[in-house]
C-alpha cells in the first residue's frame, strides 16, 4: 500500500503542498481530484521524488520512499505516466520500451506482454516517439510504465486530448492493472472516467487535502464533485 501522510512541499520559498494525505491500496484505483493548480501534479512529482517534500512521509509497504532518490523509487516498481507524456522524443518506440524494461531488469517476457497490450506499438517499434500520433504517444507512455511490472501506477491526466476510442483503451488498461493487484493513483478531469473507475476519491484544494470519499459515496451524492471541483 502507498501511504502519503501530511506531506508539505515548496517551489523555492513558495509553498505548493501544505498537508496532503492519501492512501492507495493494492488492487484499487484512487483518484486524486482538485481544480487546476490545486497541486495534483505536484503530489505525483513528490511521490516520484522529483520534488522533495519538506514535511510528512511517503511510505510504500512500510518503506519510506521520501528518503530515496528518484531512481531508487522507480526501482521499487513505481510506474509513472506524467502529464504531457514526456516520452524520450528522439528515441524510437523500441528504445523507449527498453528504458522502461531496464528500470527493474525486466526482459523479453515483459516486453511481449506490454506489446500484446498495445499491439499498435509493435508495428511502430522503429519509429521515433515524436512522430507518433497523440494516442500512440499515450500508449507508449503507458507501455513504458508497465515495463516496470508496477506495484504502484501513477497516471497524471492520461486521457488528456485523446479521442474516445483511445480513452476507452487506456481505461481498460487501468482496470486491468487494478485487477492484477496494482495500486493505481489517477489524476483525471473527466467525470465519467472518475465515476466509472475510482474506488476512492481524494480531493485537494490549494495544496491541502480536504476530503476523501469512497466511490459509492461519490456516486450516491451528486453534490460532492460540483462542491469540490466547481463542475
Amino acid at each position: 500500500m502507498l501511504e502519503i501522510a501530511d506531506i508539505h512541499a515548496a517551489h523555492g520559498r513558495v509553498p505548493t503542498l501544505t498537508g496532503v494525505s492519501l492512501r492507495a491500496r493494492a488492487g484499487e484505483i484512487t483518484c486524486l481530484l482538485g481544480r487546476n493548480g490545486a497541486g495534483k501534479t505536484t503530489v505525483m512529482r513528490c511521490i516520484m521524488g522529483l520534488l522533495p517534500i519538506t514535511a510528512g512521509a511517503i511510505m510504500l509497504d512500510g518503506e519510506a520512499l521520501h528518503t530515496l532518490p528518484t531512481e531508487q523509487i522507480a526501482r521499487r516498481r513505481v510506474g509513472y505516466i506524467p502529464q504531457g507524456r514526456r516520452l524520450f522524443a528522439e528515441l524510437s518506440v523500441a528504445e523507449n520500451i527498453e528504458i522502461g524494461l531496464m528500470t527493474c531488469g525486466e526482459g523479453r517476457d515483459t516486453r511481449d506482454w506490454v506489446l500484446d497490450i498495445f499491439p499498435r506499438l509493435r508495428e511502430r517499434l522503429g519509429q521515433r516517439a515524436e512522430t507518433l500520433s497523440g494516442g500512440e504517444q499515450q500508449m507508449l507512455a503507458t507501455a513504458r510504465a508497465l515495463c516496470l511490472r508496477p506495484r504502484v501506477l501513477l497516471l497524471d491526466e492520461p486521457t488528456e486530448g485523446l479521442q474516445p476510442s483511445m480513452i476507452e483503451q487506456i481505461r481498460q488498461v487501468v482496470l486491468r492493472m487494478k485487477a492484477e493487484g496494482v495500486a493505481v493513483v489517477l489524476v483525471e478531469q473527466r467525470m465519467e472516467a472518475i465515476l466509472s473507475m475510482a474506488d476512492h476519491a481524494a480531493f485537494i484544494e490549494t495544496g491541502r487535502s480536504i476530503e476523501t470519499v469512497s466511490a459509492a459515496a461519490l456516486r450516491a451524492d451528486p453534490t460532492i464533485l460540483p462542491r469540490h471541483l466547481g463542475v
Binding site: L50, E71, A74, R75, P82, E90, E95, I99
Partner: protein, 308 residues
C-alpha cells in the same frame, strides 16, 4: 608548385586539423548535449592528454610505437578519470547551475594549466611519431594524350598524418556505434533528452553525468595524443583547441553529434586551406566571423534544434 597541387596539399593539412578538431569538439558537444554544461576547461583536458602522452612515451623510452600506443590508452583513461572525479567533487556539488559551472570550469582551467606549468615546466616537449614515412602524392594534368598522373615537387604528406585522419575517423565511428548500439549509449541519449524522466525510470543520472564528463575529456585527450607527435606538448596548448571547439560546436548545433562532425570538417578544412594560402590568423578570424553569422542567422547551428 601549381595551384592545384598546392590546394591539395592544403586540403590534406586541413583534413588533419579537421580530424583532431572533430575529436576535441565532439568531447565538448557530448558534455553539453547530455549535461548542458559549458566546459571552459575542455582545452586543458586536451593539454593534459598531450602532456601525459609525453610523460608516458618518455618514461617508457622504448620504440616510439610502443610509447605512442601506451599513451593512446593511458592518457585518455587518466584524463577521463580525473574529469569524472572533478564532476563528482565540483560540478555535482554546485548542482550544474549554468553560471556557477562556467565560473568553476574557468577556475579549473587555471588550476590545471598552472599545475602543469609547476610540474611539467614551460618547455614544449616532443613525442616521436610511431612512424613517419614521407609519401609523395601524384596529381593529374591534361597532357597531349589526355589526363595523366605526374608527381609535383613538394606534394607529399607523412604516413603519420594519414594515420591521424584515419584514427580519428575510426574513433568517431566507434563513438557513434557506442551511442546508438549499446545500452550505455541509450542511457546517455535518454538522459540527454529528459534527465528528470530518466531518473523516473531508474537511470542514475549523477553516475551518467560523471561518465559523460569523463568521456568528453577522454575524447579531447585522444585528440591530443594523436596530435602531439606533430605539435609537441606544452602547458599553454589548450587555448586554440578550446576556441575552435566552441566554434565547431556552435556552428554544428549545440549537442548535435553529426553537426559537430560536419562543422569540424568545414572549419578544419578551411583552416588548413586559408592557413596555407594566406595566414593562420586569417583562418581564425574567418572562423570566428562564421560563428557570428551563424548566431545571427541560424542560432541553433547547422543541425541543432530550435529551442521549444
Amino acid at each position: 608548385m601549381d595551384f592545384g597541387p598546392h590546394l591539395m596539399l592544403a586540403m590534406l593539412e586541413g583534413a588533419v586539423t579537421a580530424a583532431i578538431l572533430a575529436l576535441t569538439a565532439m568531447g565538448l558537444s557530448v558534455v553539453f548535449g547530455v549535461m548542458r554544461v559549458v566546459n571552459v576547461a575542455h582545452g586543458e583536458f586536451y593539454m593534459l592528454g598531450a602532456v601525459i602522452a609525453w610523460f608516458v612515451a618518455s618514461t617508457l623510452g622504448t620504440h616510439p610505437a610502443v610509447g605512442f600506443v601506451a599513451a593512446l590508452v593511458i592518457a585518455p583513461l587518466l584524463v577521463g578519470a580525473l574529469a569524472a572525479l572533478i564532476d563528482i567533487t565540483v560540478l555535482q556539488r554546485i548542482g550544474y547551475d549554468p553560471e556557477r559551472t562556467i565560473v568553476a570550469t574557468i577556475g579549473l582551467l587555471y588550476i590545471l594549466q598552472q599545475g602543469t606549468l609547476m610540474t611539467f615546466g614551460p618547455d614544449a616537449r616532443p613525442v616521436a611519431p610511431p612512424f613517419n614515412t614521407r609519401l609523395a602524392l601524384p596529381f593529374v594534368e591534361w597532357g597531349e594524350n589526355g589526363l595523366a598522373l605526374y608527381w609535383p615537387w613538394g606534394l607529399s604528406i607523412t604516413s603519420y598524418k594519414l594515420f591521424v585522419t584515419a584514427a580519428a575517423a575510426v574513433i568517431l565511428i566507434a563513438l557513434w556505434l557506442f551511442m546508438t548500439r549499446t545500452r550505455a549509449g541509450l542511457i546517455m541519449r535518454a538522459t540527454q533528452q529528459d534527465s528528470a524522466m530518466a531518473r523516473a525510470f531508474g537511470i542514475p543520472v549523477a553516475k551518467v553525468y560523471a561518465l559523460v564528463f569523463g568521456l568528453g575529456a577522454a575524447l579531447a585527450a585522444m585528440g591530443a595524443v594523436l596530435v602531439v607527435p606533430i605539435q609537441q606538448a606544452h602547458y599553454l596548448m589548450g587555448g586554440d583547441p578550446l576556441l575552435l571547439s566552441f566554434i565547431v560546436v556552435i556552428i554544428g548545433g549545440l549537442g548535435s553529434l553529426p553537426g559537430t562532425v560536419i562543422a569540424a570538417l568545414l572549419i578544419g578544412m578551411s583552416d588548413g586551406v586559408i592557413s596555407v594560402f594566406f595566414s593562420p590568423t586569417l583562418a581564425k578570424i574567418l572562423a570566428t566571423l562564421a560563428v557570428a553569422m551563424v548566431l545571427v542567422f541560424r542560432p541553433q547551428g547547422l543541425l541543432g534544434k530550435k529551442p521549444q
